[in-house]
Homo-oligomer: 607 residues x 2
């Protein structure tokens, strides 16, 4: 299994560990220290040696920050984790506060006295984050002081070693473009902007640029590393040599200079003396890089990591790959859904059993490298918890008369998948069907959309919500996130959300996942990945338009659809989608699975 | 008439005037001078003495900027005016360039040499605009130098005197809130923000705050003036005393200190010595204010003019007023539309005649104070010019088989209106009906929308476009702008557009005006004003929602609607709207007008 269902909450260690941390504060004359859930790359999934926040507090959520002062301590989490955190954390030691209602900067202003010092590890905070923190500190008369050594590392006995998983080459048949060509594209950008070099701190950017993958963090095939890309000549790649086989080293050496991670600091110093502009991404690079370059001859230019925008637009080979990956994943999903329909009526299936079975079907494809995130397997009320993680203690059975929500994905060499289906277990209520159909209308609103050049995610987000708004309902997450090509399941710069200000362009992959959540009762989400494409011309059309090619191939539960709520065009979209699923997946299935798919994709009739 | 149809283009004067301006450049050692279409208040409509751009170039558009260098000169206009400008301007003297494709800053970089000086009048450019200009100048090694005297004023013989129209009091029965209470609300905001004073440079803000109106510019009832609002105590109002009758003076003096415009500079100097924060709006205040305060003891804080947000949310009295104004205006519009239908078949009506007739019907209400902008009266192909201004030379007849677009509005004491109707003259083509119905679908998408708290205009804009997008069409303007209460017909901060990042709130008035333009053929726009209101609760609704109350009351041309393209809900909305128009306007009409309204509002049946 790529997923653990263990209960990992252990609040008992927080007290003694905070006590030890306070000794460190004292010895360094600090009034508080920041402990974020972050590694040096701002990865979504961090390696075990960077799990400082959970080591200190017990909290295992994917986002959060603790501040430990000499007399009090607080853990800041967002709305997703306000239920989970108190179960994992000793609340006598940590106040648990909700972001953004409570702000770390406000806590610092209230807790620390003028002139006192706040310590932080400059490798774990972005330039932008420290800029905000510095402003708040200035307002409150506090000092904020970078620490050479992370205070947690100083007291963490048995801290795991940094990961050293082998790096693999991501061959041209998947990447579609040689590293040399990608590097040339960056060179061109840098020359045009008159920038001497750009520093890359995101492993996913470097993995894309150099066509390499790794296994240093869970779920995302990342090799942890840094890179400096000069405007001319070979990039320098800072990576642990032990991760590289002779073959990988040889291949990489054609395009880059291989250097050890410990050389990074001196390389930055050398770069600082070049008297040219150096570009850093203030939203993703850590303050440590800014500190290394500050005061040097070079001028620091803030700008987005150039790989982010390039990587988002998939090339033809990547597009062919993602289509193949989605077809393969669709077969596994269909077999899982057929199995679910056959076995759920027993009332004996549970969330863990279902998640295991789904992973087993994906393994049977013979191509599964990882799951792209911990499967969200939520029965009944658990489905209403948007970021639900099933564990042994929460594991619920799938009972007739409830809904089951399963959000999962796979990492294949040719593509990354992410799909959510909501399934009726037994007979659904009228309300369940109504809510499901409203979510489906929103899903179709995005999936069937045609839109002109310069349309941004923010311009499509309302199409996913309007049917729910009309019924006095809404959902509290974005409609879609970008998805990588055998890389991060969440990638920018595009998103379909209130903050999605980046124009959508052909080649971008994005999720389409509106939902509805009825606390204590059920959750509904319908998620397909879609590919932005130039649209087929329609009669009388005057402007070139874009549209969405749906990549994900698995039936949407017909038993939950009230066709009377659909317009003719919505019904047409749904039936065409199901016909396509049958056509593409049907030939890959046999026997009962095939029969199941045939009935699951039967056209719905207008009422 | 509140509108002139004269041909005002006279390109012949540009040459000699530019020659005189170049002498001024030389005598001041300047390489170029900026001539924007702007007055000291950044008004949309400027008084005659501020029409420097049209005096110099001949160009009469509502936006644009000229740069005159020693050897060459350029006029920058946006896409609305690329056809109009060359007809009004001597193109041997001015290069006409389109913003944003061409940028004044780029022109300066290309035209001026390093070290040369660009002059500008600091009273006519916002702080933000000069900030951008300064940055470009720094990049190019140019100097930019504020000029005490505007160079145009120095050479403009017979320049009109500043306007001195009498100020009127805007009574409580229209404003709904005494000036003292509004001032108290600003006081509270300033105290909370620890700001010592805010400077108001927008006459519409001051008019709203002090419940006064004026007649200093066309169409908008503005009294030109400035104000300083301290966090405590009486605001200072800088206004020409000759504009104030004894009664107005007495009433105003209860709430403000009346001061002469020429005292403003010394008042700012005094303010600069108060050692407190002074707030300036960098998007609306001119650089001159920043210059007056810079280097003084006081700290300048940049922040939005606080009246803008307060003014946008109409109170109960203003809402009752706008409803009355729209009913009154609806009667005039219905009589006009009935007249049009009766007379258009003759094929003898023309654009000017129609515009005059419409104004006449509005005058007959006995309440018309002004039209809120020059009526756009566009027959056939002229309707496709979004900001068309009919003049004697362009005046077209309304021919059978064409569309006629009329966008107009009125200023009444109780409210400002703005309405566009597109009317079939004779038999419309199938395409006209299809395009009109697609625009109508978008109009209903916004007009019938329900949406949650924090929804911004940007989130509604796509609802107006999706039906057009689906057909491969779109329109190149925003969907809606805010509207004042017997004030500006275009006001912020809200808008329904790609840039509408301000949350909509109950009490805001906004236009809903999607369109479609077929160059050389016809234009379609359907515009109602709507009021944001809390929404009626629907069964099963869980969240409080907002919706739109349509204020405008006039039939939408049924002959142009293809009901087969409407959904059941869209048809329901349309029929309910027409039933309401009949119910509210019908009793005010007689004879033929009433009969016309009855047939114009008959329910459409589903096909």
């Amino acid at each position: 299994m790529f997923q653990s269902f263990k209960d990992i909450a252990d609040p008992s260690k927080g007290g003694p560990r905070v006590a030890r941390l306070r000794k460190e504060l004292k010895s360094r004359n600090l009034a508080a220290f920041l402990v974020p859930h972050a590694d040096e790359h701002q990865n979504e999934y961090v390696p075990p040696n960077a799990e400082r926040l959970s080591w200190l507090t017990g909290f295992t959520g994917s986002a959060g920050i603790a501040i430990v002062g000499t007399g009090s301590a607080a853990l800041f989490v967002d709305g997703r984790y306000t239920l989970q955190a108190p179960g994992q954390v000793d609340t006598r030691v940590f106040d648990i506060l909700q972001i953004p209602r409570s702000k770390p900067t406000d806590w610092l202003k209230e807790t620390l006295k003028k002139g006192e010092a706040l310590g932080y590890d400059p490798r774990l905070h972005t330039i932008k984050a420290i800029e905000r923190m510095q402003k708040a500190a200035d307002d409150a008369g506090l000092r904020i002081i970078p620490q050479d050594e992370n205070l947690i590392d100083a007291i963490w006995k048995g801290r795991p070693a940094p990961p050293r998983a082998p790096v693999t080459l991501h061959p041209l048949k998947y990447s579609g473009e040689p590293a040399a060509k990608k590097i040339a594209r960056i060179h061109k950008q840098l020359m045009k902007a008159k920038v001497g070099a750009v520093i890359l701190t995101l492993p996913e950017s470097i993995a894309w640029l150099l066509n390499i993958r790794g296994r240093d963090v869970p779920h995302t095939p990342l090799p942890l590393c840094f890179a400096i890309i000069p405007a001319k000549g070979k990039p320098e790649l800072f990576i642990e040599p032990k991760k590289l086989s002779a073959n990988v080293r040889r291949t990489l050496a054609r395009d880059v200079k291989l250097r050890k991670p410990e050389d990074l600091s001196s390389a930055l110093t050398a770069l600082g003396n070049t008297n040219s502009k150096v570009q850093l991404d203030p939203d993703t690079a850590s303050q440590w890089f800014e500190d290394q370059l500050k005061g040097a001859l070079t001028e620091i230019v803030h700008g987005a990591d150039p790989c982010i925008a390039l990587k988002a637009k998939k090339n033809k080979i990547e597009i062919a790959g993602t289509r193949a990956a989605h077809k393969r994943d669709g077969v596994a999903m269909c077999r899982f859904l057929a199995w679910l329909d056959a076995n759920a009526p027993s009332g004996k299936l549970d969330e863990i059993g279902a998640a295991k079975k789904l992973e087993a079907f994906r393994r049977q494809t013979g191509a599964l490298k990882e799951i792209s995130f911990d499967t969200i397997s939520g029965a009944g009320a658990n489905g209403a918890i948007v970021h639900y993680r099933v564990s042994e203690s929460t594991n619920a059975t799938l009972k007739p008369g409830t809904l089951y929500l399963v959000d999962s994905g796979a990492q294949y060499l040719d593509g990354t998948t992410d799909i959510t289906r909501t399934i009726a277990i037994g007979e659904p209520t009228k309300n369940m069907r109504r809510h499901f159909t409203l979510v489906l209308k929103g899903h179709i609103g995005v999936g069937a959309a045609r839109f002109p050049k310069d349309t941004r995610g923010v311009d499509l987000d309302p199409l996913a919500r309007a049917p729910l708004w009309d019924a006095g309902l809404d959902f509290d997450h974005g409609t879609g996130h970008g998805v990588g090509s055998y890389l991060s399941v969440h990638e920018g710069p595009q998103s379909i959300s209130k903050r999605g200000m980046v124009a959508l362009e052909p080649g971008m992959i994005i999720s389409n996942e509106p939902g509805y959540y009825r606390k204590g009762d059920y959750g509904i989400r319908i998620e397909n990945l879609v590919l932005v494409t130039p649209a087929r011309k329609v009669k009388g059309g005057e402007r070139p338009m874009m549209s969405m090619e749906t990549l994900t191939l698995a039936p949407i539960d017909r038993r939950l659809i009230d066709a009377s709520l659909l317009t003719r065009n919505e019904l047409k979209w749904l039936n065409a989608y199901h016909a396509r699923v049958l056509k593409e997946i049907g030939p890959e299935l046999k026997g009962k699975d095939k029969a199941w798919l045939e009935q699951a994709t039967e056209p719905l009739e207008a009422t």
